[in-house]
């Protein structure tokens, strides 16, 4: 019998605000323990929370970007439980009325478009950290992270494979960076996923009992954890055992999930509205302002690139994978007029997705730190379009540009990279090659198409790559026919 996996994902997105959600302390990481824990973060007697408007603004951005409903009146609630790195003994979160409700996220799985509906997104504060390794026989508490703003984004259980789950998470990750609400550094815990996984027989309408895998901070772990968990659940059921609702942890070393707690010993969080905070009211003006400040979203850009520039799906997907890439692309494209824009777009996409991305990756840089600016890249593309440079020569010019030389035309002149486009000159080389390679000429005439490539290669070699390969091809064919 066939199984179906059902996955819902809760993501904790750290919002990139300067200060904490309810205090003025800095959210910078890397400070000595408790250096960024003020009296409010320490939960001293008598202190009170004050909401950081920037965190609210970022939550609104997310809601607008996912076409969700922004609740213009939402409520902060206290989630009560004891833990040493939870200084107040409760976490301020949102329960009954979150700031964002609904919304959807579109992404591609194996070139098929998928839409996953979002349940909600609510604001809350992060906890501190317990340090168990630094002290013998004791634990240390670092409250630097306590009070860092989080947006918890909850999806509907609409994903059916680990691939879908990973694509969802990657798209969400790109989006929160795109709209400037999260740094997205997964190693630092900026973006953490909990996956709710259940299985059922294909065709069943009723959902199976789910187990929640906590705190997955890489796409790889997300994938591995879901795959392990789903097959574990299938085995259990096939062995006649029932799944018990539980929270589990993923161990990357063993690749297994292990039980953290079952529903029986789940906390009763005793949620109630936080009397220290007034209801959060967002007026129309704030919504309008946020809507206007949002950059064009990746989905819209992708559509535009495909219809206006006639770029293909995979090219477009890379160009809109980050706002930095898209911005760089458009800045380069701006240097071309209406006549050349489409071939230019294709070439820019090729260079960005090929040479440029590879070089940036090697240098561990992104498009904002690219040593070749958009205008320079456009100059390179222009010289390819006007046949001054072959692809091969262009690569040599690119290398010069990467190492700091910024004028394409100067490089071409100085290094003599100019493509040979004079037909007479090329013809002379072609004749020489035909003369010296009688075997290949015979092969070609006998119908071996591949022999032509070898001849072209010889001409290119002779001209040190400067001949225009298309022209060489044409001349060869003419001469040999």
């Amino acid at each position: 019998m066939e199984w179906e996996i059902v996955i819902g994902i809760e993501t904790h997105v750290q919002l990139s605000t300067e200060s904490k959600i309810f205090s003025g302390a800095s959210t910078d990481v890397g400070a000595p323990p408790n250096a960024h824990a003020c009296e409010v973060d320490l939960a001293l007697p008598g202190v009170l929370p004050v909401l950081n408007k920037d965190a609210v603004g970022k939550a609104i951005r997310f809601g607008v970007a996912t076409q969700a409903t922004i609740n213009q009146r939402s409520i902060f609630a206290r989630k009560n439980y004891f833990y040493p790195d939870l200084p107040k003994g409760y976490q301020i979160s949102q329960m009954e009325i979150p700031i964002v409700e609904g919304g959807k996220l579109k992404f591609h799985v194996n070139k098929t478009e998928r839409t996953v509906n979002l349940t909600r997104a609510h604001l809350e504060e992060d906890a501190g950290k317990s340090l168990h390794e630094d002290f013998i026989g004791m634990s240390g508490i670092d409250l630097n992270r306590a009070g860092t703003p989080l947006l918890e984004i909850v999806s509907e259980p609409e994903m059916r494979s680990s691939n879908e789950a990973v694509e969802y998470a990657k798209t969400l990750h790109a989006l929160v960076r795109w709209i400037g609400i999260c740094e997205g550094n997964m190693q630092e815990g900026n973006f953490r996923c909990d996956a709710n996984v259940s299985v059922r027989r294909k065709g069943d309408e009723k959902l199976g009992t789910r187990r929640e895998i906590k705190n997955l901070n890489s796409f790889k772990f997300l994938q591995q954890a879901i795959e392990y968990e789903a097959s574990w659940q299938m085995e259990q059921i096939e062995d006649g055992l029932a799944i018990v609702q539980a929270t589990v942890l993923f161990d990357p070393d063993s690749g297994e999930t292990r039980l953290m707690r079952t529903k029986e010993d789940a906390h009763d969080y005793r949620y109630f509205p936080d009397p220290d905070l007034l209801p959060l009211v967002i007026d129309d003006e704030w919504l309008i302002r946020t809507r206007a400040s949002l950059p064009e979203l990746p989905e819209s850009k992708a559509k535009r690139y495909q219809s206006e520039l006639e770029l293909n799906g995979p090219d477009v997907a890379s160009l809109v994978s980050s706002l930095e890439a898209a911005t760089y692309f458009e800045a380069t494209l701006d240097q071309f007029d209406q006549k050349t824009i489409k071939p230019a777009a294709k070439l820019i996409a090729n260079w960005m997705n090929g040479e440029l991305t590879a070089s940036l990756n090697r240098a561990q840089k992104d498009f904002t730190q690219c040593p070749i600016n958009a205008e320079t890249l456009s100059n390179l593309i222009k010289r390819i379009l006007d046949n001054t440079l072959s692809t091969k020569l262009a690569r040599l010019v690119f290398e010069e540009l990467w190492s700091g030389n910024s004028s394409v035309d100067d490089i071409i002149t100085e290094k003599g990279f100019k493509q040979m486009s004079d037909t007479g000159e090329i013809e002379a080389y072609v004749s020489q090659v035909i003369k010296e390679n009688s075997q290949q000429v015979a092969d070609f005439k006998a119908g071996k198409e591949k022999a032509l490539n070898s001849l072209v290669g010889q001409v290119m070699k002779l001209t040190k790559g400067k001949a225009n390969p298309t022209q060489v091809n044409d001349i060869l064919k003419t001469k040999l026919s």
Binding site: P45, G46, V47, V50, F82, P87, I141, R270, D276
Partner: protein
């Protein structure tokens, strides 16, 4: 000089009749002596106090003095004051030295006032008799066998016994007004949101409100001017135009409509208290005020609603006292949970534990709707009652308490009887309205009777004026307990 009001002291200091250091020294000496009997103070810190007095004397020699410069004020030990041990009446914070100032402490410091000491209180402000303090109960200066009321019992007793010219308190269900009534002084709970709660150790956040306690309504006005100010650190603090309370006390009572809620005048109230209040109302009529019969039909439910909402908030507010970062930690424990359990079992007293249990219960899954949500609905109805009543009156008057000061131990074993002593005061907290208590007589045992005034939102000025006018024509607020100043 020790018997003067704040107003008189302020004038004398500015006239250089004596210095703040002299005044403060004298109050310290008297307070320290009397404290052996009254137990009104938990902490004195002469060094810090006299340093402030010296500083005040410097300011007094310039043009920058305020009405409070150089005047020693006793602060309820619920307010965090920088470098002061701040206990909240609990073993849990017995050795907690606050690293920061509460907003109102900052304000008093800016006004040049001197912190005389920190006063005794019911543990975490939970109590109506001051018997739940870890530091022993405060005694009523009118009869040392009787309670001073609570939870601001130390602040009330200190003013009553002449140990301090004025003090601060906090009022969650009557904690300023009830002890003011039982000790024969004046006390005021402002509109919720008027006085910042920042640095006030939270009991029930939606009800807590700080306010002044003093010998006269005029003094309350002066103190209130220092206490009221918008505070960006308290999200429930309200930005309101500044009101000159002390400048507005000479209003005529002619035409003032006084609402008399029938629910607050019943045979449940001690006959002497009924009589004292009735006579006070006659005084108002003589001054030209008219009495208007009103009804607050939901008020019989106020104690029940309060004892759901307040413990619910308290159970959460007191979670931070976990032995991890500051305060008491049990000396011996086996693991984390044992540390929590022993720390809280040893650090909290019985009444605090009772309320944490009640609060935890009413917020629990499956009980929330029946208790917490229902209580919030009652709370809304109570507010509506008042809104309706204030359409026909300007101020509401009633007894502050159903009886005068009771014996120490009398109600300690019966929490419900104890809770009922706040039956007239709780509704104003639930509705967020300003209210005060002023002395209006003595019962047959020579114990003070309190008259409660409830004003409309932000109408403290009206209420204070009414209290002041009464004190202009009567002398109940000038009566001194047998122990006064001894």
């Amino acid at each position: 000089m020790l018997d003067k009001t704040v107003k008189e002291l302020g004038d004398a200091l500015q006239r250089k009749e004596f210095s703040s250091v002299e005044l403060t020294r004298a109050f310290l000496d008297r307070s320290k002596t009397l404290n052996n009997e009254v137990n009104a103070f938990i902490t004195f810190d002469e060094e810090q106090t006299l340093a402030q007095a010296k500083k005040a004397d410097k300011i007094l020699s310039t043009d920058n003095a305020t009405a409070l410069t150089g005047i020693p004020i006793a602060h309820k030990d619920i307010w965090c004051a920088k470098n002061w041990i701040t206990t909240c009446g609990s073993r849990m914070l017995e050795n907690f030295r606050s690293p920061y100032d509460a907003h109102i402490i900052k304000r008093f410091n800016e006004y040049g006032a001197v912190t005389l000491g920190k006063t005794n209180m019911d543990e975490f402000a939970m109590g109506s008799s001051n018997e739940t303090s870890w530091f022993g109960n405060v005694k009523n200066p009118w009869d040392l066998n009787r309670v001073p009321g609570g939870s601001s019992g130390g602040s009330a007793a200190a003013v009553s016994a002449g140990m301090a010219p004025a003090s601060t308190g906090t009022d969650t269900g009557g904690s300023i007004r009830q002890p003011a009534a039982l000790c024969g002084i004046s006390g005021l709970k402002p509109t919720y949101g008027l006085v910042s709660r920042y640095g006030m150790i939270a009991f029930a956040s939606s009800l807590d409100q700080g306010g002044p306690m003093a010998k006269s309504a005029e003094d309350l006005a002066i103190l209130l001017e220092a206490m009221v100010s918008f505070d960006a650190k308290d999200s429930t603090s309200l930005e309101k135009p500044t009101v000159n309370y002390s400048g507005g006390i000479n209003r005529s009572m002619n035409g003032l409509r006084i609402g008399i809620p029938k629910e607050y005048f019943s045979d449940q109230t001690a006959p002497d208290v009924q009589k004292g209040v009735a006579e006070a109302l006659k005084e108002y009529e003589k001054m030209g005020a008219t009495l208007v019969d009103i009804s607050l039909p939901t008020s019989p439910l106020s104690v029940a609603a309060y004892y759901v909402i307040a413990p619910a908030e308290a159970s959460s507010n007191l979670s931070r006292f976990d032995g991890v970062r500051y305060g008491y930690r049990a000396p011996k424990y086996s693991d984390l949970n044992d540390m929590y359990a022993k720390t809280r079992a040893q650090g909290f007293g019985a009444e605090v534990k009772r309320r944490i249990l009640i609060g935890t219960y009413v917020l629990s899954h499956g009980y929330y709707d029946a208790y917490y949500l229902k209580a919030q609905k009652v709370r809304r109805l109570i507010s509506q009652d008042f809104a309706h009543a204030f359409k026909t009156c300007d101020v509401i008057m009633s007894p502050t308490t159903p009886s005068t000061a009771f014996q120490i131990g009398e109600k300690a074993s019966d929490p419900v009887q104890m809770y009922l002593s706040d039956t007239f005061t709780i509704a104003a907290n639930l509705a967020g309205l300003p209210a005060m208590s002023i002395p209006c007589g003595l019962d047959q045992n020579q114990l003070p009777i309190g008259l409660q005034l409830i004003g409309n939102y932000f109408d403290e000025a009206q209420m204070i004026a009414a209290a002041h006018q009464y004190q202009c024509v009567t002398d109940w607020h000038l009566k001194k307990p047998p122990l006064y100043g001894v």
